[in-house]
């Protein structure tokens, strides 16, 4: 028989009274609480027995308070003298048990006082965490709104764009519910009614309502990150470096404050060190990682099988001679765009460097192809903002005659006619470089290579 076991611990702080029932049930099954962590609680095997549990809110505890301060020891000692044995603590919550004595005095005997402490600790703490979460959620959502076509190119982009609003809702709704519960408890106190004790069943439902969607969304985003890291590991590493460094520093800080410090004043010092640490690592890590450059494990110098493309050699006329100087191929995929790539090729043609760049997108539906087409043309039109300047801004023109000639749904050109963006059905191609788009041979080559693959069942719009 196992001596210890860990179980998922997702109870909401305001449901702390319901946990007593849960612990009583566990003791009757032969499991005694030993330790409570952020996500799991550790139980040890005991003889199945009836035990009484009491979970109290210690107003001097908290996420940044050491667990074993002199005050906490004094308070626990007082509880012990009155018959309650201390088990463990987690932030504000203190866990006690007693062997079946029906006459044992409860740890809290003043409901009003207890409610006020709950309001000033748990509720305030939860409100602060919800406000912080909301700020982060709004900041994160602002990255995805208005949606940009580039989000459609990666798994994380698609997952984030679709799931962040849901994640935001899954955080806000339980907080709003807790606010209503707190207000109801306060109203009951004012009316001289007892505080409603949450049931274990209700606490479990709330736990599922809060953690269920968050867990599912978290798993989806984690899978998206893993999939994206296959195509662009350094980009993923760069974006994860900050949160991972912050999390490691946070966990070390928490361990030192919670287990090593014995004075509340210590935590201020440690938090200051942690903030300085994060700033220091951010200052070092970012330039270091930026220096690595944005690479791709899928980067190669030839176009692999299965990717429709045109190369410089296809475009060269018979009289032109040249040699390849450089070529680079980068591919990616997402649930919306199962195949996309960028190909750059530079040739030395009769002593001068000529190049072409091909960007190809095959989407699951023509609607997404249109979004990509509009996104690319808007990006070219707006240019790139750098300091107070706007660089690479281009004038985009449409040419209906050319559009009919190419037989595509959408076509846009730069005024210099050195770039063309075409969309037909579920395919978008963006070509630039030393290409003569007016040339019939070039047009046929592009149509044959790219647009003949438009999926007719979804491509015709």
């Amino acid at each position: 028989m196992r001596k210890t076991k860990r179980v998922f611990w997702g109870f909401l702080p305001l449901d702390y009274k319901a946990i007593e029932t849960y612990l009583e049930e566990m003791a009757e099954k032969g499991w005694m609480l030993e330790k409570v962590g952020a996500w799991a609680a550790k139980f040890r095997a005991i003889e199945p027995q009836k035990l009484k549990f009491y979970i109290d809110v210690f107003k001097e505890g908290g996420p940044f308070a050491p667990e074993n301060t002199k005050e906490a020891e004094e308070y626990r000692n007082l509880c012990l003298e009155s018959g309650w044995s201390f088990i463990t603590s987690r932030d504000y919550l203190q866990f006690f048990y007693a062997e079946g004595d029906d006459n044992l005095t409860s740890i809290q005997t003043d409901e009003v006082l207890e409610q006020k402490i709950v309001e000033s600790t748990l509720w305030r703490g939860q409100l602060i965490s919800v406000i912080i979460c909301t700020i982060f959620a709004i900041k994160a959502m602002s990255l995805y709104f208005p949606p940009r076509y580039k989000f459609l190119l990666s798994f994380v982009g698609v997952a984030g764009m679709l799931l962040f609003p849901l994640l935001f809702i899954s955080v806000i709704l339980p907080a709003a519910y807790d606010l209503i519960r707190t207000l109801r408890a306060r109203r009951n106190i004012n009316r001289g009614l007892p505080i409603e004790k949450p049931t274990l069943e209700g606490a479990r439902k709330r736990m599922m309502a809060l953690h269920g969607p968050t867990f599912v969304i978290g798993v989806i985003i984690a899978l998206a990150i893993i999939t994206d890291s296959f195509f662009r590991p350094q980009v993923v590493a760069m974006s994860l470096a900050g949160p991972i460094i912050g999390m490691v520093i946070g966990l070390i800080l928490r361990y030192i404050i919670k287990r090593k410090a014995t004075d509340k004043k210590d935590s201020v010092l440690y938090v200051t060190f942690a903030i300085l640490g994060v700033l220091f690592f951010s200052a070092i890590a970012n330039p270091l990682l930026s220096g690595i450059g944005v690479g791709s494990s899928y980067k190669r110098d030839i176009i692999p099988e299965g990717y429709p493309a045109i190369t410089m050699s296809d475009l060269l006329e018979g009289s032109q001679q040249g040699t390849s100087v450089y070529s680079e191929f980068n591919a990616g995929m997402s649930p919306i765009i199962p195949k996309h790539y960028s190909y750059l090729e530079t040739w030395d043609v009769n002593g001068t460097n000529e190049n072409i760049r091909v960007k190809y997108y095959k989407t699951i539906h023509p609607r997404f192809a249109e979004i990509i087409f509009n996104g690319i043309t808007a990006e070219l039109r707006e240019g790139i903002k750098w300091k107070d300047m706007i660089l690479f801004r281009k004038t985009i023109i449409s040419d209906d005659e050319m559009k009919n000639l190419w037989n595509v749904n959408n076509l846009a050109l730069t005024e210099a006619r050195d770039e063309i963006i075409i969309q037909k059905g579920n395919i978008v191609v963006h070509l630039s470089g030393n290409i003569d788009f007016e040339n019939r041979h070039v047009r046929e080559l592009i149509i044959d290579n790219f647009l003949s693959l438009v999926e007719t069942n979804i491509g015709e719009i």
């Binding site: 000692n77 005095t105 809290q108 005997t109 003043d110 009003v112 006082l113």
Partner: protein
């Protein structure tokens, strides 16, 4: 004395006393009463239990919260500490509050006697 009961038992910005009653709670009253002589936490619990013959029970958490607040407000003071056991005694300020409450309770009983027993006599 210009300190009201509500001022005294103001807990971290939250009024603990029953504002609607404008009085100390029964538990507060007995804790202060037990500290006329120096006493420690568990001693207070036992003393209150003994004096009220088990009618008023004070939980350890409630006692800890009230003692720490009373101490902050200088209603009681710590006079010694031994083996994580602090011994407290009521201050002059606390004594004044207790006497004021005592007078108020006497007034309540007196008013009650006048109305209830007087009513009986009239009948």
């Amino acid at each position: 004395m210009d300190v009201s009961i509500i001022d005294i038992v103001f807990l971290g910005g939250n009024a603990v006393a029953r504002e609607q009653l404008k009085t100390l709670t029964e538990q507060m009253y007995y804790i202060l009463l037990s500290l006329i002589s120096p006493n420690h936490g568990y001693g207070i619990m036992q003393e209150v239990d003994r004096r009220t013959q088990g009618r008023v029970k004070i939980g350890a958490g409630t006692l800890y919260n009230l003692l720490s607040r009373f101490e902050e407000e200088y209603i009681i003071e710590q006079i010694s500490e031994e083996d994580r056991r602090k011994t407290y005694v009521i201050t002059q300020k606390g004594l004044d509050i207790l006497k004021e409450e005592y007078q108020r309770l006497i007034q309540l009983v007196s008013d009650g006697r006048c109305f209830l027993e007087g009513g009986k006599q009239d009948a």
